[in-house]
Amino acid sequence: MHTAKRTRSNALRLGALAGTAALVLTGCLSENSAQGGGDGGDDPIRIGISLPLTGDFSEPGKGVGRGYEAWAEYVNSQGGLLGRQVKLTILDDQSNADRVAADYEKLINSDGVDLVFGPFSTRLVVPAAQVAKDYGMLFVEPAGAAEEVFTQGFDNLFYAAPAVADDHYNHLAEKILSMPEGQRPKTAAYAAMDDPFAQGTAYGLKQKLEEGGIRTVVDEVYPPNTTDFGSIAAKIADSNADIVVGGTQYQDAVNLIVALRQLDYQPKLAAFSTAPTNPEFPKAIGQQTEGILSPTGYTPEAPYPSNKEFVEFYTEQHGSPPTEDEANAWTTGQVVAAAVEAVGCADPDPECQGKLIDWLRNNEVDTVVGPLSWDEAGRPQGAHLIQQYVDGKIRIVLPEDAKEAEFIYPKPAW
């Protein structure tokens, strides 16, 4: 009996220990071998990046990775930056906020990269930006849109997309509030992942709708590792809210939509961030995507001049047009490249990095998502397009001047 007890408690203790040890181990294994320094005129410009290639954000993380790589190839095929080739070093942070800080520390400190690009998603951008700030490096990032990114006092950060998370749904909020009294929804249910970006999008809309008199009947926050959405769906279905808004990444939106359908909840409007723009989404949901809304910072159809080149180059490379993740990565490349070309330097020296930062602070850059400029904290000054599934295809429906299809309301049953 006594030996027995000891064996079991040992087993449990060892389980925890093994977990920690394995995390450390896998971390070491994923590192690439460091490269020597040396800054000759013809040396490539080395750019350090850490991305969530595995773990919770692996899906969008890989998209961003494809965008960065496509951008680097494109730049190199055009003769490089300042006449130097561009070389990317991409590490995998496993969607882990501790690993991402260690990765950038390593990239800047021991690999001695010339420039850094940001990772995917707010949870990883904040610790990464802190490391870059400590070394005085310019930090342009493709996917850290939540308000908390811009309130940490980062003076080196720029978000390379049209709008911050809270403003993603601005066009939709306007549209809903401008509906005639009889049609306008009266109640709303919100479910958001406990993630600053996902929550930011939903709460940005929530704030505007509440100000407009639309009552919040469910406000549910769930951790990123949630596997069962039945209970959240039950709460939403029980409230019978007119509209449902999901502050989601990917799998949570898919699981929540299926759970809502299983409870036969039929809202007049359903909006989810990120997930619906993913090509895997219609494969998972099937015919029931009709009418689902999503904000998007990018569409391949956008008329901006550099976007055409981007879509052509990317489609030729990958056989399919780019999505928002690839576009945001490409935009990050464009923004940094514009600063490098204007200032005429690309090295880790704080003086050069400081010039790059100052240049971006005071200039507008033409990108694949349109002209971008930033405020003091690095917030881009714009709003997102609103897309909706119409006849099985995702189309821009808002704002009016950019629409490809008519806004559907109320949403057909799913």
């Binding site: 069962d228 029980d238 359908r261």
Partner: protein, 294 residues
């Protein structure tokens, strides 16, 4: 809180508890038979889920049909794994070393899945994924009901196998006292191998049930192993009925607590139950005499 929400949560909790019981059944078997802590169990669940998804994508047939080959396949892998790997560990440090060994197997499976199918989140698209039955105003999703049915069938089968057959007697004898079992002529090595295979066969069924109603990706197993370990500790390591009752209690508790507390705090219920069990009744609440032997 309305009455209909309470009833709906009860229904969801029972269905969830059934799924938990199925997913945890194998874990308690490995520990019962061999005192092996099988960290890779949830990785095998995800592997089975991927095989079901792949089967449906390639053939267009219902994922349940994939059970016809995944169950024997997993049984075989289980037997081989026990005979070739687990049995090589020194008996004195078996429990500890099995954590490391199966941890590496979990990483291996995750890596192979990522390599073969990429990290893209997948979901089996079923024509009946949103279908549901009405039950006094609460709805019961057909896919969740199927998963529950699979759980009930497998657990009942496992129980009958353990209690009513000669192999079951030999397996339980091996659990209770290995040397004594050998003395009465039981080939404990073979029984242990089959026991392990049986555990993995439940993973094949559990993984397929999981794939019916969830989005899968290679690293998903890390989200499952913690709650499953909590279930078998609360249920009493080694006891299949104990694991089933604990799974049902924790599933129901989680589902009901979610109404007043929200999702984040409802999740901690599992770990509070784990701490309470270890403090008050370390042999588990339902383990009884069998579990006390370890």
């Amino acid at each position: 809180m309305t009455g209909s929400l309470l009833l709906q949560s009860l229904v969801l909790g029972v269905l969830l508890g059934g799924l938990y019981a199925l997913l945890a059944a194998g874990l308690t078997l490995y520990f019962g038979v061999m005192r092996v802590v099988m960290i890779a169990h949830s990785a095998f669940l995800i592997l089975a889920a991927y095989l079901a998804w792949f089967f449906t994508r390639q053939t267009g047939l219902d994922p349940m049909l994939s059970l016809l080959f995944t169950v024997p396949l997993f049984f075989g892998i289980g037997v081989l794994m026990q005979r070739l790997l687990i049995s090589r560990l020194r008996p004195a440090t078996l429990t500890m070393m099995s954590v490391l060994l199966t941890f590496s197997i979990a990483l291996l499976i995750e890596g192979v899945l990522g390599f073969a199918f990429t990290g893209t989140h997948r979901r089996i698209r079923l024509p009946y994924s949103g279908a549901h039955l009405e039950f006094f105003g609460a709805s019961i999703a057909v896919v969740k009901l199927i998963a529950f049915g699979l759980a009930a069938l497998s657990l009942a089968g496992l129980y009958i196998l353990l209690k009513r057959t000669r192999f079951g007697q030999a397996l339980r004898a091996t659990m209770q006292h290995r040397e004594a079992a050998q003395l009465v002529g039981i080939n404990t090595d073979r029984v242990a191998g089959f026991g392990f295979g049986l555990g993995l066969a439940t993973a094949a069924i559990g993984g397929t049930a999981l794939a019916l109603d969830s989005t899968i990706y290679p690293s998903l197993h890390w989200h499952w192993i913690g709650p499953l370990m909590a279930i078998i500790v609360v249920g009493g390591l080694g006891s299949v009925p104990g694991a089933a009752i604990a799974a049902m209690a924790l599933g129901l508790g989680q589902s009901l607590l979610q109404i007043p507390l929200g999702t984040t705090w409802a999740q901690t219920f599992f770990y509070l139950a784990l701490f309470a069990t270890l403090m008050l009744r370390p042999q588990g609440f339902f383990g009884g005499r069998l579990a006390q032997r370890f």
